[in-house]
Amino acid sequence: MQISSSKENVLKKIRQALANPVPVPFSQSEGNTSVFQPSTKELEIEFAENFTGLLGKFSFCINEKELAQQLQQLAFAKKLKSIYCNEKDIKQKLVTAGFDNFTATDVAACDASITGCELLVARTGSLLMSSAQTSGRTVSVYAPIHICVAYTSQLVYDIKEGLLHLKEKYANKLPSLITLATGPSRTADIEKTLVVGVHGPAEVYVFLVEG
């Protein structure tokens, strides 16, 4: 079959080419030390500063009760009519804490979505999410407003740390999609004018709960 012979041909060409190896470019630079600025603050502060610096909206909650109250206020202030959440445990916690404003039955119809996340990356102010969450691939990107509920125990400092953590957590059963999301969807394709909300959410909120 043609397909498999293509594979053989490509591999053959590669192997022939690699019969002439080239030496490592910069052996003196090898190593595992970090090349990024080290953390100078608590991870919560580091995250909050970096996340808000990229137009993310951040709120710290001492417990779930406060989370529920703050969500209520946000829903009121932004006149959110239909909120969608597809993660059972988060929904459960919110309902218990007194927030049960989930009227949207699917993401296409909602004006905001609530999801959790795998981890938060403090250095870049990013949310690390995966398709192992029941929100799947769509909920955090399709809704016009994305609200993420996270816990302080989910903070890591850097991207690599976060990725390796997931690799270990899932071992041989990696989720089919992992995404690092940093702030609202943006474009500068028209004369470098920054516009948010091009395909993904125009507003991203993180409610960081102690715990």
């Binding site: 630079s29 090349v35 850097d158 740390e161 091009v198």
Partner: protein, 459 residues
């Protein structure tokens, strides 16, 4: 001189006189230049970061066969399928076959230079399949029936008024919309397409071999939507995109963002390891990765040009190139423009047709200076000229000039003896045909070593 070379010279002469065009390019590049230094602050050891990145690419490319096979092993375990394509035609055939099987009428695409390289859109059009570009810049270019202008900023040469006019003409919107309003129009139009499409096509910025996944870097979210809604996801990827491990992304994502757009990281960096897995809520039923060679093994074959395969397509060398700034992206008439385009295109296409591109450089070394993975671009341009000369494609005068230049530029000591004036003279006089088509080029009065020290001092 071949027809392609003639056309390049003619077009570059016209473009470099086009002031309005130059104004737009400079405006864009100045904005870029303002943000890159800020993003660089995230690194405490920028030079080490760049050198490690080059080492990682070296490791991947020197064991490319094993890396690709490891990818296939891991990826197929999760139900993904790998297709190997030696040429653009084979890649297109594979896409056609999948589209037929899936009864595809509409296909959504996120930004990908490889799909430009194989001319996927034109091909699909002939098959009667609607192929919709979903990246805003690409969408604008597609509406205008034009190829992307810059590998990172496809509609770089259009002003907001140009875009408003274009939307008015093609979509019937009022002709005075702001960038915000134009973006919203595109959002609404494209949402229908994401839902409607049977197939989503993406490129990939990285192939991660240890876990068998691809990674896509973007700011808009259209790539995430392209691989979330359609039932089938096809990723078309050049075989050189490999990095050895998942952890390497911790270095490559920030580097690509810093040098590509002056961000610490882009808004979305997505790793896709396969189709929807058991127990997952959504995602495509099938996922294919098409590995494309299309001449890349030619670059691999010459140990000198091999490092061109380390390129992460950040576009920094384009923005830094005085020739690119002057003549712009379309004049090259190739998928990959700027210094890196001039290096790789002759190997991806016929050397004879495109060797003039290696001459479309001032050999000022700015490109080498800025490359995040430290590719010796201007040496590679010289290498191409050398190959062209060896293949007997150069004119006699060029051969002599090339030799003189090479002796000069490869000998650091000699380079440092000659200050800017001498270099200018050398370029402007020795390459006499040069000045006619390129305009006088100015070299910095600093020597290479001075610039090098300065930069290293800065970190």
């Amino acid at each position: 001189m071949t027809e392609t070379a003639e056309s390049f010279k003619a077009k570059s002469t016209i473009k470099s006189d086009d002031r309005e065009h130059r104004r737009k390019i400079n405006f864009n590049i100045n904005k870029y230049n303002a943000v890159v230094p800020v993003a660089k602050h995230q690194f405490s050891e920028l030079m080490v970061a760049r050198e490690r990145a080059k080492n990682a690419k070296w490791r991947a490319i020197e064991t490319l066969d094993q890396q690709l096979e490891e990818f296939e092993r891991q990826f197929t375990k999760r139900g993904g399928k790998v297709i190997w394509a030696e040429t653009a035609e084979q890649a297109l055939e594979a896409v056609e076959k999948i589209c037929k099987e899936k009864n595809c009428k509409t296909l959504v695409k996120s930004k990908s230079m490889v799909t430009e390289e194989i001319h996927l859109n034109q091909f699909l059009e002939k098959q009667g399949i609607e192929s919709v570009e979903t990246d805003l810049g690409e969408y604008i270019q597609q509406l205008d029936g034009e190829a992307p202008y810059h590998i990172v900023t496809p509609a770089m040469h259009k002003s907001k008024e140009d875009v408003a006019k274009l939307f008015a003409e093609k979509l019937g919107t009022p002709s005075d919309l702001t960038p915000e309003q134009l973006t919203l129009v595109a959002r609404v139009k494209l949402r229908e397409k994401f839902i409607q499409a049977e197939v989503g096509v993406t490129g990939a910025n990285f192939i991660i071999s240890d876990i068998g996944a691809i990674a896509i870097t973007e700011n808009e979210g259209n790539a995430r939507l392209s691989c979330a809604f359609p039932k089938t996801h096809i990723a078309i990827v050049g075989i050189e995109k490999v990095i050895p491990t998942l952890g390497d992304l911790g270095l490559f994502w920030p580097l690509l963002a810093t040098y590509g757009t002056g961000q610490k990281v882009t808004v979305y960096n997505t790793i896709v390891t396969g189709p929807r897995q058991e127990g997952e809520t959504d995602g495509p039923e099938d996922m294919y990765v098409i590995f494309l060679d299309n001449g890349r093994t030619n670059l691999l074959n010459n140990p000198k040009t091999r490092e061109a395969l380390y390129c992460i397509r950040c576009g920094a060398c384009l923005n830094a190139c005085p020739v690119y700034k002057n003549i712009g992206g379309h004049t090259y008439e190739t998928t990959y423009s700027g210094p890196i385009g001039s290096v790789i295109t002759p190997h991806l296409k016929e050397m004879d047709d495109y060797k003039h591109l290696s001459n479309a450089s001032s050999l000022c070394g700015n490109c080498t200076e800025v490359c995040p993975v430290r590719i010796n671009l201007h040496e590679l341009l010289l290498e191409n000229r050398h190959e062209a000369v060896e293949f007997g494609m150069a004119t006699y005068g060029e051969r002599i000039a090339w030799k003189a230049w090479k002796t000069g530029s490869l000998n650091r000591k000699m380079m440092n003896l000659g200050n800017g004036k001498l270099k200018n003279w050398m370029i402007n006089k020795v390459f006499s045909a040069w000045t006619a088509h390129r305009g006088k080029l100015n070299f910095s009065n600093k020597t290479f070593n001075e610039m090098w020290d300065e930069r290293n001092g800065k970190g």
